[in-house]
Structures are given as C-alpha cells and as structure tokens.
Symmetry: C2
Subunit: 146 residues, 2 copies
Amino acid sequence: MKLSTKGKYGLIAMADLAIAYINNPNDSYLVLKTIANKRNISEAYLERIIAKLKKADLVRTQRGSLGGYSLAKHPSEIKVSEVLYELEGKLDVGGCSEVNDKSCKVKENCFSQIVCEEINVKIRDVIENMTIEDVLKSYLNKMKEQ
Amino acid sequence: MKLSTKGKYGLIAMADLAIAYINNPNDSYLVLKTIANKRNISEAYLERIIAKLKKADLVRTQRGSLGGYSLAKHPSEIKVSEVLYELEGKLDVGGCSEVNDKSCKVKENCFSQIVCEEINVKIRDVIENMTIEDVLKSYLNKMKEQ
DNA sequence: CTCCTTTCCAACTAAATAAGTTGGTATTCC
DNA sequence: GGAATACCAACTTATTTAGTTGGAAAGGAG
C-alpha cells in the first residue's frame, strides 16, 4: 500500500529540477549526481527513474559535459499525477476495477471493490489537481509555520 | 500501491458475515470452509486472515462441530478502517509521515511527503467514515442500478 | 468415551515485486 | 584526445505477499 521509492524519488527529483527551473528557466540543467548525492539516492537507480520521466516528456536533457537534466515545461504545467502514473502505474488501491480482471478469483459480490473505488476517486482527485509548483508552494508554507 | 489480498479477503469475509448477522443476529455462525469455497479463497489462508479480525474483537467464534465465525457486533458498528488497519497496517501511501523514520535516507525537503500526506488524509476520511453496513448498502444500490 | 467437525496456531515455502548494481556505449565540451 | 556527462540493458539481492503443511485443542453427536 505504500508509494514505492520510484514515485518518491521521482517527486523529489522533479521538485529539485523545479527549483532550478524557476531560478533560471533558460539554462536550468542539473547534473544527476548532484541530485543523487544531495538526497542520498543511488545515482544509477535515480537515473533509471528519471529516464522514464524523460520518455514521458516531463524532463529534457543535455548530454556531454556541461550536460544535465531540466524540466521540459514550467512546474505549474506538470501534474503530480503525470509523474506518479509514469513511475507507479495506475496508482489505485484496488486491482479489480477493470471489468475483465482474470486474475481475480473472487466469484461474485466483491465488496472490497466498493471500498476501493471510493478511495481511488479521492486519490485521483488529489494528484490530478496538484502540480509540481503546488508541491513547492506547500512546502514553503509548511516551513514558514515552523 | 494495491490493497493486498489480505485486506480484500478480509472485507469480503466481513460482508458475508454481516449478511448472516443481519438475517439472524442471535445465531449467525458461518463455517470458514463455506465462505472460502463460495469466494474461491484458500481455506487456510482465509483462516489466518480472520484470526486477526478475531484478535481485534471484530469477529467472535464458536469451536467444535456446529461451530463457526460470526460478527462480534452489528455491521453498523464496524468501521472499514478497523478491518483494514488490522490486516494492512496503517494503510497510508507514504511511510515517512512519522517524525523519526530512520529507514528514509532522503536528507531534507522530502517533497513526496507533501503529496502523500494529502492523499493519506483522504484515504482515512473514506475508510473511517464507512461501516460494513454501508458497504452492503452500497452494493445493493449498485445492483439495483444495473 | 470415541469419532467427527470445527477453530486455532506455528513453521515453512514459493512467487512476485521492489530496489539497486554492474558494465558498458554515445555525446559534447574543453 | 580526455573528462564529464547522459543513455541503456542485463543482472542481483532483498523484501513482501501469498500461500501451504501439519498438526493441537475444543465441542457436539452417537
């Protein structure tokens, strides 16, 4: 039931890239090693995570020395759901929401589906209406309060 | 990120017990094998699941022949959260909501926590305000519509 | 009291998933 | 040409999930 480290590290990396992007939208490339070291994440592992985000056009890259990773668009244009769906799959709580789930052996009256569907709606509601920019802002507000 | 079969089977068993309970609150013991067969669930596995629910005082038992399992109280008095917390643990989406999470290696500014906490609130909101009776009723309404 | 049916319980195993590593290739700047 | 970087696939390890096995204890029926 937990968010895996893929989703977690992905969000963290996106937030770090977002800070760089806001500071200087034209030239905001960050080196992977920098993020990985700062966050205590395995470099090779983070690379594989961020590669998926590139394939989803959320991140762009510059190769060679002086290269690095940057957001592909403004943090306000990137939904949290886009990041998480790419890294975690569907991110719902119950697998049998599909009509033809062959793997589910429960024959009829699957009561757990009632519960799962209600939770799934709420999860979607949160992550599809929250951008990377929102995450940054929430974080700053949280810091102010303390 | 999925609800495990523990939670799923647990909810299903509770709903089956609830139906028996409503039909006859005084003598509503169901044999485990009956539920397991009806639902295509391994008997031994379901037994271990329901044992946890007993320990949490959600289910009571009668041993020996003519024995079986029954709800310990009315379905309207059993929250879905009680069932799921017992079987799935905390059922939140992010592990680092605790202050002293030693396992988390991310040093600071854990942006994923912002997202997770918002989702966690919503999940709790759903399952702590939904009883086993509600699940049954929702199911019946759903059937009517079709 | 004996047999049958049931719950109860602990230890074991198998399968799947998550998490991370290794060893390299391709680009680009200096 | 060398250093620094992104890119990529195959492999390994650790953890969790999903069960299974083999019984012991309790209670009712004959």
